[in-house]
Symmetry: C3
Subunit: 272 residues, 3 copies
């Protein structure tokens, strides 16, 4: 369905590939490998650095060369918690676009507190699955550990409510993905159920959103666009995969190879 949104998505990808934006990540221990590889495959430049001692230096680099920050709370301990707060503070002070991934929100008081503290530093984008977004909204959406037990549809109202309350953009991903600033909401379709059988595909998407908002001025549409590209890459990769092992490989290959034509013809984003 070629339209202004799919054309915009194609332009965004060209932009990422041309500029190779720095994405500074507090990723979790499970997702670091696939997240760094997804960023490299799509043309961005990942840096994983979580030490409090270098948060200021990395925020200066991000500011200087127009990078972005992503924070994923998936495997925090008190030290990571402290460091991430420091990084978020610097991002907020320096207008560095940043993404918060509230992995497993609702599963523990510790996770809820991490999200509560980080969200005060106004992430540009909050991205989570249905259960996580509902948990952040204070609703009864506690997942099964870190996997979602709620659909993205269930969580749209929560997403809109969080977006309005915090004046941020919220992306809730699932069978259909929604991206909202509380006023305008985009629905993105694509992907494949087998993607949920590859660990950290959501975490990797969080990092790719970092690349998108590092180069794209319209943060709302850039987020919807990169989700559309990722969904399409996942869908195309699934078709040539025998299981989650080969899907992981084919997804990275497709992020590297996906063409403007494929994006313009097949990315599915609409205003809802």
């Amino acid at each position: 369905m070629s339209n202004e949104f799919s054309k915009n998505a194609s332009e965004l990808l060209t932009n990422i590939r041309d500029k190779g934006p720095l994405v500074w990540n507090f990723s979790n221990f499970v997702s670091m490998d696939i997240a760094a590889n997804a960023l490299l495959s799509i043309g961005a430049s990942p840096a994983m650095a979580h030490a409090k001692e270098e948060a200021k230096d990395f925020s200066q680099i991000c500011k200087t060369i127009n990078g972005a920050l992503t924070i994923n709370i998936g495997t925090f301990d008190p030290y990571w918690q402290e460091c991430a707060l420091e990084a978020a503070k610097h991002a907020n002070e320096n207008n560095i676009p940043w993404v918060l991934d509230p992995v497993g929100a609702g599963a523990s008081g510790f996770r809820n507190k991490n999200v509560e503290q980080l969200i005060k530093f106004k992430p540009t984008i909050l991205r989570g699955n249905g259960s996580e977004i509902m948990a952040v909204a204070g609703l009864s959406g506690g997942g099964k550990g870190v996997d979602s037990t709620s659909t993205s549809n269930d969580a749209v109202d929560s997403a809109i409510s969080i977006a309005k309350k915090n004046k941020i953009i919220v992306a809730v991903t699932g069978a259909i993905d929604y991206v909202t600033d509380g006023h305008v909401t985009y629905a993105v379709e694509g992907g494949n159920e087998m993607m949920t059988k590859v660990t950290a595909t959501g975490c990797a998407l969080t990092c790719l959103i970092g690349a998108a908002i590092a180069v794209g001025n319209n943060k709302l549409l850039s987020t919807a666009s990169i989700i559309g590209i990722y969904d399409l890459a996942g869908e195309m990769a699934s078709k040539v995969s025998r299981g989650p092992g080969s899907l992981r490989m084919n997804l990275l290959d497709k992020l590297y190879n996906i063409s403007s034509d494929e994006i313009i013809s097949n990315v599915k984003i609409k205003n809802v």
Copy 2:
């Protein structure tokens, strides 16, 4: 060799796929990716969470929805050590089935102490390679770092002795795998030597045992069954792999695709 054991293995896998049990893991930094992917491929729901601050919350979730815990000491530091002890204590108090993987036992005093402390909380299953199991038994089985220098056959007596002394089940894996409660011992055959060239395949198996004992009532047979399934998947994957890189991918695909018929006809478990 279709028999009651291979039928039982097939039923166990159906059970895992139907229930999608939560497996809460203290995995090590090397194994997190493959372990989470192996759990997803086989149909379970992994959660990696090691913070002491959330050990109680995760143990409550595990208790409520019949999950399991796995603890792998592979890359411990004093903080992880403390957190794992907290988690093991909660598992013990709440009757949550749990698996202990004593990676590199015998290689350092620190590792030996970790095992010594954790084993007091009565893991449902202790799984290690020959060197590790012999080290746990107090014998001279120190490996070459974390790789085994002793065969599983060398370690069977150690396994039986540990099982009897601690009233737990011990699995020693190698060319032939043995699972024993000190009285009944199963031998499991299969796998392929190339599996030892893929890092953390043993650690991933530890997590899969977590999935097995989360759903299976007979913990001894469930452990032998999941090892049989894993060995078969590894063996089948090896046949279509050109080296350790493709084996890692094909193993995950096979865990996802393996059929009841393949298991019933080919899993090799016997009472010895």
Copy 3:
């Protein structure tokens, strides 16, 4: 280009495969998986162990069975920093060959300090990309986070200068790789640009250098040799890969399968 250097490289690989040397690694969170897998694929035995509490034990094992140590500062925090210094001290005292990988040197004061402290314990080999080596030499080579913005050619003088000043061997990797002790310099060609789109391929090479200097007496030539083998494996793997996902897999397969004939005929090392 079959010559004495490519024959030497082939002999080195045979030596690694025969002896299966222990390589004890302080790897970073991103590179642990691929580094351990690269070591296993090439025939070495990796151990990841970073706890200060076991540094002495692991250094004793390394000393006893002629292993090597590698230290990668990629995701250090103050605890890892302290532990790595302890390990480097033991390596220095016990004549254990060791490799230092100054990931992201120049990007933060914290990283610069880590390198400064560690280099005092005289790494046998320092390996980095152009930006990192220039940063270590005190020149303006700060990269874009952790990716290089300088070519290896730019950094050759820095490498020679560091080698002379510290009496160590320096390897600077890029489109062409250089290995120097300050007096003799080897240039190594091969590889493929797509290798830079797979995360941690440099970190994995650092660990492979560990395997090379564990078994090879001529540390300078052994380092050039293993880089030549790695470049060739990467080049051959690239030819059958559709993108970074399949390249990662094919690289590991090729490290496992690469033959003496392929090495003798194709490894490109010369004295410059």
